[in-house]
Assembly symmetry: D2
Homo-oligomer: 326 residues x 4
């Protein structure tokens, strides 16, 4: 199929490449002409503006937007809304808030344009490994896009089949899934990232406990100087905690056992925050997902104001003066 | 009554003073002769060693130990065990672990010596305000100590009587309580401090949210530049969240509205840790008390190793490079 | 001053009474004529509809809306917006979301009508004790309302003055505070309730640990059969954890030491949820406030779906069959 | 090699089978003669008592204890200590607390007997998949056991090699690891299970949010009726959250999409509790691991006493009567 790709960063560029490898035709645009140039070298048709990109697509057009969530995506979708024709399809493949999808889908529907939201997992590994796709939108439109989605997705690969799946149909085993109406794709992706934060934090706390198992204030015969890279590695085989994130942790620890190359200032993207908000809106207790988010907030500050409040109270009731160190 | 006080720091010194104000006789000892000197100036009988202190007490002796919990208390109690006579009473008024009380009480019982554990709250304010006392030990021994305990305790004061209390007996309204057998006093004090951590953290998080209510990344018409000292003050009157800790917070914020005098490195004493362990041993979910403890652990580090693990994973799966700042 | 009060439930009725006791004139309305009748018996001017209420007020009118937050408040404010005149003042004294205040204030401003948001703490005790008021809106309008606010507020009472307050001005010591522009009142009240959840949960966990201190699976010499009403009482005197919430806990435990009259199904109002969302929006870690909210979510379910997922995993990897009991 | 196996339950029986498949000789004992019988049918030498088992082993003997942690393991190790000879080796392969290992190793060392602690992950899948082994003890003894450990472990299998591992030596890639001195094996296994709890809880919360995404109190256009089995399946391919636990979740959801076969009463074994205690002892914040443990505590109760305390306070300050339902 033919598809226009707007945004050729780490994600968009590789997705276009994977699509072309799969026999699809890509017309591409990026604010940075160098990114366009790199893709045309790989076989894409370049374009110099959104208008130019649109003019090179046959109707009904398919335009995949892969620019940063928030203002950039909003502006791109608005600009497409003004330029595209009824029956054209806009796909937001970024990390948008599902509530924005609902709003945008409604606005585009008023113009006869279809809107599809696709949550994408796979990171820099997706070009070869494929992208796990979580999709929201109306069924006929999503079905129409099936050849593209199937190419982007990982496929069954050598992942062992889930017992009981044999009798079921659907695309989940191929690594892409139509989750529901507009916003459903990004909703599922949002929670996916929330879960990801929780998984990461669970491993991180475990290795932190290992790291301090040799601490001076423990009884001498109960101190252990543990080999963290080896522990991560041994868990990769036969243990209950095996996962792709553990594989990455093992790789990182082999390279740099004390992780001294990292300061520990951890960003969070919107999804973790929105997941906590969704849990609160639904009335679902989400202790672990929240705690994982808060750890990241905390990691980017020298001290919280909350901690100063604690110190101030302690000074007031007990004359306690601050000391540092563990 | 006559009582020997070992340990004349911030707590022990003032407790001896409050006892003398109440008409009791104190024989005092401290490793630091200056502390002894200061108390004798206030009317106490000084002593130059534990042996000297013991020799100045009439039998059955009462010795109140008010030295740092852990090794110092252990050594003092052991040394008293070797020197005292049957029917003498050792009181551990420090912040000992209740399991140590159980062990020590048993060891002293073998020598016919009584052991009483007293958890004490009141901090630097206790001299005038009185000390809230939580007591563990055998009933006749605790009853024998009643005159001392009653003097140390705050008494009813002008605290409004709890409806329904009129028909009850006991000393709780006087601010001291025999909680149960050995260890019970420190057990109740331990949880008291665990609760204290939780209360402090609740206020601290609230003021942290206020402090950031003017943040740049909020919509402009929803930013508030709040007056924190005034908020703490207004809550002191008629609101559900009024408390002594809030009073202290209000006082601290009036002096130093941005709490710039504090770095936010917050110590924890043993009680918070033991409370979490007790909850785990009992199978009681204690989310808030644990979170309050962990905040303090975190406050004393630049970064946790856990955070480096998160950064390492993020780098591995998405090529994410660390950025700092909120 | 003259004031119209719409909504005469537990809060609105008593606020009108307190205002009348303070010499103000109240015109009142409630969907339930009985509530109106009760207030007229106490000296208010009754009215039979919003239109009727408006007609009985002299301009510029002051109308205090004290109906349930959400749809009821929205409808009432909208209906007032259509009926009132420029320079009239609408006060939302309920538990509205501060973002709704910002929106409503803007809408009313377009009609020349002033909007003031007031967060109110004090519950059923407010009639006598006064209401702690947190106020948002424009300064001249809030100043104009000062006589009313002062009457509703607790005043200084016998609460000890905060050291350092002598040289400061303002109304915080009187128990009411203009916090900032529209929404600021409900923002401060929102966090107030978030803090309240945290404080309550801290005590609750502490008493839960006490309650299980006698558990069979603890070593026999470390089991304590604690007297919870007495512990709550003793903490009321001289201890660091004293508070109004503790006073209430002590009263509840005296009446019903095992709290068997309560099932433990705990509601949450919007404020706890919004506080967590505000923390997330600001990037402030709020572990304790979140955990306190989640406890309430959890308390209203037999089992979460999350727990079933855990059981299903355990069954799959270890053949573990569910057992109940602690 | 020849090895005695005491305890032929789900774990011990299959471990003996895997060892025999690997060419080792097993002498087996279990309190239940039927379990012994089943193993002899598979080629083991049966025995009728611990004494009988010992008499059938050539010195230096190797005895693997695979009975429930706690009293049963303690009794078995004690009984072996009395019966074995210097240079014999006792292996505790159960889920013992590492502090018990330290104590036991010391006691056995006094008799010249070696003690090795082995933490084992793999559950019911281990017979075919192999067991991930985490080992504590002195190096020469662990080296002596290498043939047995290698057979029990999964080996490299088809797990992709970690980049950077090529130049390293050691057994971690084979799925077994000598972690350090006595207790180190169970320490690493303990944290392994703590991490497992955290991973499980992260997925569980995510699916709980999905499960409630169709809730009545959400705006109608933002409700999603999600297909949970399909979501679990799609995440298995190309996504960041892929793991063996996710594989199991996908299998469980295919069989029983609403997990109605489970009540959600979730047991915890000692390891989760000890992990939290270890974190507290080390001063490491472990929010997620603690929250995961507390969820399980909570899951086994109708209501906590803490929740009753909250209800009691709410009743006291606001007259709030309990309602049930979400």
């Amino acid at each position: 199929m033919q598809l226009g790709m707007i945004g050729l960063g780490r994600m968009g560029g590789n997705m276009a490449r994977r699509l072309m490898r799969g026999g699809h035709h890509c017309v591409v645009f990026d604010m940075n002409p160098e990114n366009v140039h790199r893709l045309t070298a790989d076989g894409a048709v370049g374009s110099s503006s959104v208008d130019d990109l649109i003019s090179r697509l046959t109707t009904p057009r398919i335009v995949w937007v892969m620019v940063p969530a928030g203002d950039a995506t909003e502006a791109t979708v608005e600009s497409l809304a003004e330029r595209l024709s009824p029956e054209d399809i806009v796909i937001d493949g970024g990390n948008s808030y599902f509530k924005d999808d609902v709003r945008r889908a409604k606005a585009l529907r008023a113009r006869g344009i279809h809107y599809v939201d696709v949550g994408t997992s796979g990171g820099t590994w997706g070009l070869d490994r494929g992208y796990c796709l979580m999709i929201g939108g109306s069924e006929p439109v999503v079905n129409h896009l099936d050849p593209i989605l199937r190419t982007l997705a990982p496929g069954r690969g050598d992942v062992a089949r889930t017992t009981g799946r044999e009798i079921l149909q659907g695309t989940a085993e191929e690594g892409y899934l139509h989750c529901g109406s507009s916003g459903a794709g990004h909703f599922v992706k949002m929670v996916h990232n929330g879960v990801e934060y929780g998984l990461m934090q669970a491993y991180a706390e475990g290795f932190d406990i290992f790291r301090h198992a040799n601490s001076d204030n423990l009884p001498e015969e109960m101190r252990y100087d543990l080999n963290l890279p080896d522990i991560a590695e041994v868990w990769r085989r036969g243990s209950v905690v095996g996962s792709w994130l553990l594989d990455l942790t093992a790789a990182a620890l082999v390279e740099n056992p004390d992780l001294s190359k990292f300061t520990g200032s951890v960003q969070d993207s919107g999804e973790g925050r929105w997941t906590v908000m969704a849990a609160v809106e639904e009335g679902v207790p989400a202790e672990v997902l929240s705690a994982s988010l808060y750890t990241r907030f905390r990691s980017r500050q020298d001290h919280t104001f909350a901690e100063k409040v604690l110190s101030a109270m302690r000074y007031k009731f007990g004359g306690h003066v601050e000391r540092s160190g563990p």
